[in-house]
Symmetry: C2
Subunit: 433 residues, 2 copies
């Protein structure tokens, strides 16, 4: 072994970062994992937290606790602000970390395609706090509608627009429709939430465009069955508070506008001095290292890589986890063999299938050539997501929540929390009621 | 029936308000329940949310959903700002409600005994948002300690002070000790959370002073067994950021200072023009109505009432629920008999026992003359709290969480959420890691 104490620095505790830690093991290395939050987030179920089907701790687990039994591993809650690749050093808000090997696994952030001003009016869904904010605003709109007398304002309060017909948008719109049309409708006296409008807006000519056209059609039909209005070929021209203007000139007024239309790589990628694509993803070499820096790797949603068949590796959790395993093997080889195998083997993505759920008992799935619709796709989705959920407690708790919702149609996590602080000038605004 | 559509207005959806709605039923009445939040909170378990043992939705349920099947009942999310008793009208932020009968059930708020400036440095625990804020700050202190080099700062980060030796303070201190000494201790590399100091400060000469002295002694011994430093006869002189000065002149530095020392009635009570006691509780007549207003009642923690034996009715959930049932009967009689029974029967409190838990498998209980310590008290507490938890889902979910924590000593809800918004000038501060 050339280096008895190689320092491996992992930025990000998502699917990629954690998989790397699970697969990498070498007596001559110490690993430091740095994440901005203290928890790993099971992002595929985040929309369920936003739509009050699950509680936040159901889909998140402290990173420390997941990796507690791994020797030679330290978890630090901090945030990278600058990477000095030639000097092999990462500066965070509170600490500075030197490294021998660096694994960049920071994932993506919501992108507004050059319109950052839309973020205020159409929040995206990437973090627990995003999900809790969306939940609060959606539930509050119905609470306000209950006593609203102005018909135009009432219509706006009872309209939810989801922008973006990818998997997140489809799942979100389906869950919105179930929340309004099946759950809330029992609880109000003056409004009828089953008449709430849920509108899914997609710029291109079909939703779920990563799937074959017949599955897109099936998904659309299933969404419409739930009462979602699906609007294809409808690019957005502008968004302001509670108001969307489409390219056609049509205007929709909606208290809740949710953005699920775009993802770009973590902004740190643009500061590395390495080539990126138009959404900021790093153009890595076939072995996933950065050009000119064989000891720096990027994995997951930060990466732009073409497969040998010309298709890009998709930005999904299984791809991030496969990349993590590949990089773990390369670094381990390096440490064993001095300079590693040369040339290093390229990364190859194995597509194990794609699933999307559309509310209760509905969905579409593609496994190789096998296509599933409706109930079967939903069962497949349920099993796979439960299998992947990290941590026993979460798995049981999610199963309880889902079974309960399924049997009773009442969602369990319908809490409005995190309201703005009350006005200190008004003593009655103190909590207690 | 004199009044075919008597309007009953209930302010507050806590134990008192909800019990009233459950017990009151009259064909000639319509009920409106107004609460500042959308959920009923199971306050006795709030400390478990603060100490990451339970998730927020486990102990809260939408008020609409609890009362959904009750005919003639409307739930409004709004906040009372003024009550005009002679005009029989309540003004809220968004609505105005006239009433024939008014039930005041707004509960209490944290009191700092004339030192409102302490609130910033020593948060109280009355709402879900309070609990989530305390959880965040306690967990963040340990995350920061992991990389802290200054020994004085490190000591402060690893010290939690709980002020107030009543049931909430004792339960909170016990749960703090378990979190630090049994759960977090497995997850850190550079610090040893089992060496964290948990200090419970009580001004009087014993903790749990509402119980007999031998149960106080037992509780203290059980707390010390968990590693809590119990300081009696230690009134607080001042609190500033991370620093407490006791009346003795001693100074304790602690990043987390939690306030469990005082409760006062909801501030609205002081604006009614009716006599209140020194903590703002309404001096009601023996039938729980307000002097001069036979159609206005107050129940629960807002009420100051002496029992026939000279002891005050305690500010606990069972008392609020018994009061609710009493008032429900009186109003029903009024509606049936025109002017009601005269004289109205007085309220009588039936004490069914008192319980306090001190961490896992510990506690004290008093049922009539029967005193329980340790494991038996804890089992009693567990069963009673599960029985009382409103809503099936919560009961199952809490049972899962508790069983899991009990078996594995890892608490399930250790999420840090609701961090301050990132600096917009720093693009890397966006979520995604």
């Amino acid at each position: 072994m050339r280096n008895l104490h190689a320092k491996i620095l992992v930025l990000g505790g998502g699917f990629g970062g954690l998989s790397f830690c699970r697969h990498f093991s070498h007596p001559g290395a110490e690993i430091t994992v740095v994440d901005r939050t203290n928890h790993h987030l099971f992002q595929p179920l985040l929309y369920q937290v936003a739509m009050a089907g699950l509680s936040a701790p159901d889909i998140a687990q402290p990173i420390r606790s997941i990796l507690a039994h791994k020797p030679g591993l330290t978890v630090i809650m901090d945030e990278a602000v600058a990477v000095d690749l030639p000097a092999r050093q990462v500066n965070c808000h509170k600490n500075t970390f030197p490294f021998d090997y660096l694994v960049l696994a920071l994932g993506g952030v919501t992108s507004y395609f050059g319109h950052p001003e839309w973020e205020t009016f159409a929040p995206g869904l990437k973090t627990i706090d995003d999900a809790l904010r969306i939940r609060r605003n959606v539930l509050l709109a119905f609470e306000q509608a209950e006593t609203e007398v102005d018909p135009r304002r009432l219509s706006s309060l009872m309209t939810i627009v989801v922008i973006g017909g990818g998997p997140t948008g489809v799942e979100l719109a389906g869950a919105c429709a179930e929340l309004a049309h099946r759950v809330l409708c029992k609880d109000f006296d003056h409004i009828d939430p089953s008449r709430a409008r849920i509108i899914l807006i997609e710029a291109s000519d079909r939703i779920l465009s990563h799937l074959p056209p017949d599955l897109s059609d099936s998904a659309r039909a299933q969404l419409e069955g739930l009462g979602v209005l699906v609007r294809i070929k409808s690019p957005v021209r502008s968004i302001t508070h509670g108001r969307i203007e489409l390219a056609s000139g049509e205007v929709i007024e909606a208290e809740n506008i949710l953005w699920a239309a775009g993802i770009m790589a973590h902004p740190l990628t643009r500061k590395l001095g390495v080539e990126t694509d138009r959404v900021g993803r790093l153009k890595v070499l076939p072995d996933l290292s950065l050009p000119g820096y064989p000891q720096v790797f990027a994995i997951g949603d930060m990466v732009s890589l073409q497969q040998e068949n010309g298709k890009p590796v998709p930005g999904v959790a299984p791809a991030a986890m496969q990349m993590a395993r590949h990089v773990a093997r390369l670094i381990s080889d390096d440490l064993d063999l001095g300079r590693g195998r040369s040339p290093r083997p390229p990364f190859r993505y194995v597509d194990k299938g794609t699933l999307a759920t559309i509310g209760r008992s509905k969905g579409v799935a593609l496994f190789g050539k096998i296509k599933l619709h409706g109930y079967l796709a939903w069962i497949g989705w349920l099993l796979i997501h439960l299998l992947f959920l990290i941590g026993f407690r979460n798995r049981v708790s999610v199963l309880v929540s889902w079974t309960y919702s399924y049997l009773t149609y009442r969602l369990g996590a319908r809490l409005i929390t995190g309201m703005p602080a009350p006005d200190p000038g008004n003593p009655s605004a103190k909590p207690g009621s």
